[in-house]
């Protein structure tokens, strides 16, 4: 690993001032992604600002019934929280389906949002990758693309965002709070991650000098009836081929509220707005679920290696909604 200057920030003000004055600095949280990428010589910061001592480790209830989650809450701490397990079970399940217990103990909420892709060519310094080296091309297109995306992909990049947690956050209308020396602003989670377009190296709406300080969840009654389903190549400890975060309420056989998001299919956690539009007010039947899933996946583009995801995503949506209908909730 290349050498770097290490700073430990005692408070948010010091942290954002350090990143504002150092042109090539990175914040270090749990380290589960950044340390690996530095060892692989993909991330090369001159300065590393350790933020693990910042007071951003709380989970507090908001006045309206929502939840404010500090950016340094561990993934395991968030999944185990009683209010998350009862009010937002899809979030607890999504986190518990990601990584391993050791990694979840280390990894932070803010860091989870900023995970970089697990595309093999991004990690392979000898391969073309527009994300790692803009303008070099994309070896995944026509290459080994089993884990690559099918929605919102471009001719420049087909990489996926690897997070499970973010898929649940996308379904739950979460907001990301960020802070810099210029002040505080709030970004809807579904606008936080960017589609690749012609600039796949720009992955999020976060400016270089901004620190994620919290994630907020609104009060969302439908979320109590929610579930996360992850399909992967082995039963545990693998990235998603396809995943579905779903919340649904029905009354007299009609869908009265629904939230749906997909993972493993795009550079961002994919909020399924089109499917939600079709489902809301429709009969809660397998036929409606199929129609909604087909409409959401209609614009999907597959590679020879991953075109199976187009069908798999639809079947996983239908199966997850069906399970919610018969079980009521994950809890």
């Amino acid at each position: 690993m290349r050498s770097f200057t290490y700073l430990s920030a005692p408070d948010v003000e010091t942290a954002v001032r350090a990143i504002a004055t150092e042109p090539n600095a990175k914040f270090l949280g749990g380290g589960t992604n950044l340390v690996d990428l530095m060892r692989e010589d993909i991330e090369r910061p001159d300065v590393v600002v350790d933020i693990t001592r910042l007071p951003l480790t709380g989970i507090t209830e908001l006045p309206g019934g929502g939840l404010r989650i500090g950016a340094l809450v561990s993934n395991s701490g968030l999944a185990a929280h009683p209010l998350v397990r009862t009010r937002y079970p899809v979030l607890a399940q999504a986190i518990l389906n990601g990584a391993s217990a050791q990694l979840r103990n280390m990894a932070t909420v803010g860091g989870n949002l900023l995970q970089r892709t697990r595309c093999l060519y991004f990690y392979d310094g000898a391969a073309a990758c527009n994300k790692r080296e803009p303008g070099s091309g994309c070896a995944a297109i026509g290459g080994f693309a089993r884990n690559a995306g099918i929605l919102g992909v471009s001719d420049h990049c087909i990489a996926t965002h690897p997070s499970d947690m973010c898929v649940a956050l996308a379904a739950l209308d979460a907001t990301v709070e960020v802070e810099s020396t210029r002040g505080i602003r709030r970004i809807p989670l579904i606008e936080f991650h960017r589609l690749p377009g012609s600039t796949p190296q720009v992955e999020t709406a976060l400016a270089a000098d901004e620190l994620i300080t919290a994630v907020e969840l609104p009060a969302l009654p439908v979320a109590a009836h929610s579930r996360y389903r992850k399909v992967r190549d082995r039963a545990s400890y693998a990235f998603a081929l396809v995943s579905v975060a779903a919340a649904m309420e029905t009354e007299d056989g009609v869908v009265t509220a629904v939230r749906l998001a997909l993972g493993g299919v795009s550079a961002k956690p994919w909020r399924a707005h089109e499917a939600e539009r079709i489902l809301l007010g429709a009969p809660a039947t397998e036929e409606s679920f199929r129609r909604a899933a087909a409409a959401e996946l209609a614009p999907a583009v597959g590679q020879p290696d991953n075109a199976f995801k187009i069908d798999l995503a639809q079947r996983t949506i239908v199966a997850t909604l069906h399970r919610l209908l018969t079980d009521g909730s994950a809890a």
Binding site: A101, L103, A331
Partner: protein, 157 residues
């Protein structure tokens, strides 16, 4: 930092991992380097009682923390692994045992897993399926998984 109950003062460049600090600077070679990228679990140690992958931890981040490695463990799990053939080559074993200690503490605290049926009520028995899911961050290339699950179940009983 405090390692296995002993205060250690280390002067290290910041890029040194906790794993390398333990093995190369403190001579505690019981903690193993497998993949060095957080995928295998051979480097699992306990930090303030919580299991972590020491290969993805920079030692400097753990200043002032309490680290426990296999050299500091004296636990019935160790005999249970021997009795139940919980290993063949033994390379993953120190990580497996540190991980199992952390796992049992998590379960005792009511931490759920991906296979926990009732998230809201949590707890429940530590079934073989629960153990397999909760230990999935520790790979065993010899495939001694059945013995590992048996060893942990024996200690739970």
């Amino acid at each position: 930092m405090r390692v296995n109950g002993v205060d250690e003062v280390l002067d290290l460049p910041p890029q040194v991992s906790l794993l390398d600090a333990l093995r190369e600077r403190l001579g505690l070679s019981g903690t193993k380097k497998g993949c060095d990228q957080g995928a295998c679990g051979a480097c699992t140690v306990l930090a303030d009682g919580k299991r972590i992958n020491s290969c993805l931890a920079l030692a400097v981040q753990y200043t002032g923390r309490e680290i426990t490695t296999i050299e500091g463990v004296d636990d019935p799990l160790q005999d249970a692994f021997v009795r139940n053939d919980g290993f063949q080559c033994g390379y993953c074993t120190s990580g497996q045992i540190c991980s199992a200690i952390g796992m049992l503490a998590e379960h005792k605290d009511g931490v759920p897993s991906a296979v926990t049926e009732h998230l809201a009520t949590s707890g429940g028995a530590l079934s073989a399926a629960e153990i397999r899911e909760r230990m999935s961050g520790n790979l065993c290339r010899c495939g001694a998984y059945n013995g590992i699950v048996d060893a942990i179940q024996e200690v739970v009983r």
